[in-house]
Symmetry: C2
Subunit: 143 residues, 2 copies
């Protein structure tokens, strides 16, 4: 009986450790070499709805499939619906270079080229890198 | 012995439930009424360092002390250090109104007024509200 009891405890302890491990990320988490960017994209009016559908799919796939894509958060201006903004955070520049070669990014790029009126990629620095995870923590409990 | 064993199991099960509950947030989590904004702030050059210190403090305090401030993420353009951008997400407009009355916001506002050359607050809509937490999930495992 006692050995069964210890076995259960061991199993529970391993399972809790497993949960914690799954929350960790295997890629670089050094904020000083992260690539942080705001993309400013203007879309031809006739294509806005179509563009948003494709962008939504691409953002979701990038974050889900690429460990080095820490965040892609796409937004649309409320007053000017043709103005799209993305907050993009990559673990490092290698992660970004690898992102550019993925099938989902290439599909997005090729299918939206004619919809994009202008595109500006603006490199940013985090002002508070140290507490980055805290500044985003609540978003992670939204579901 | 058996009752002790069940007691341990009950305790562990309650503790796991407690952990999950603490990850939940008591405020509105309906993304359709969230207030999402990009703030574009230009700072007079002589004040940049001073301004960043004050902004960093204010952002950290807002997220820590106000349940309705879901995220304030301050960034600085790499090429133009006088250009500051913030991604701000509030649970709803009441949370934002309440934020404007907090001591830490008022302290920030009053002590930086003379440092700010221009300020634009741009209301945004999330393009993928449904999977918002997934798009930010990795940031939460950074520490």
């Amino acid at each position: 009986m006692r050995s069964f009891f210890y076995l259960i405890l061991l199993f529970i302890s391993m399972s809790v450790q497993g949960q914690n491990a799954s929350r960790m990320n295997p890629v670089n988490m050094d904020h000083s070499i992260m690539l942080i960017r705001i993309a400013e994209i203007e879309i031809f009016e006739d294509f806005i709805d179509q563009y948003l559908e494709i962008l939504k799919e691409e953002s979701e796939a990038s974050v889900r499939l690429e460990p080095g894509v820490l965040c892609i958060y796409p937004m649309q201006e409320s007053e000017r619906p043709d103005q799209i903004r993305l907050l993009e955070i990559y673990a490092d520049s290698a992660a970004y270079q690898s992102h550019l070669k993925t099938p989902h990014f290439l599909k997005y790029k090729n299918s939206t080229l004619h919809m994009v009126k202008s595109l500006a990629l603006i490199d940013m620095k985090a002002i508070d890198g140290e507490s980055m995870s805290k500044l985003f923590a609540k978003i992670n409990s939204l579901d």
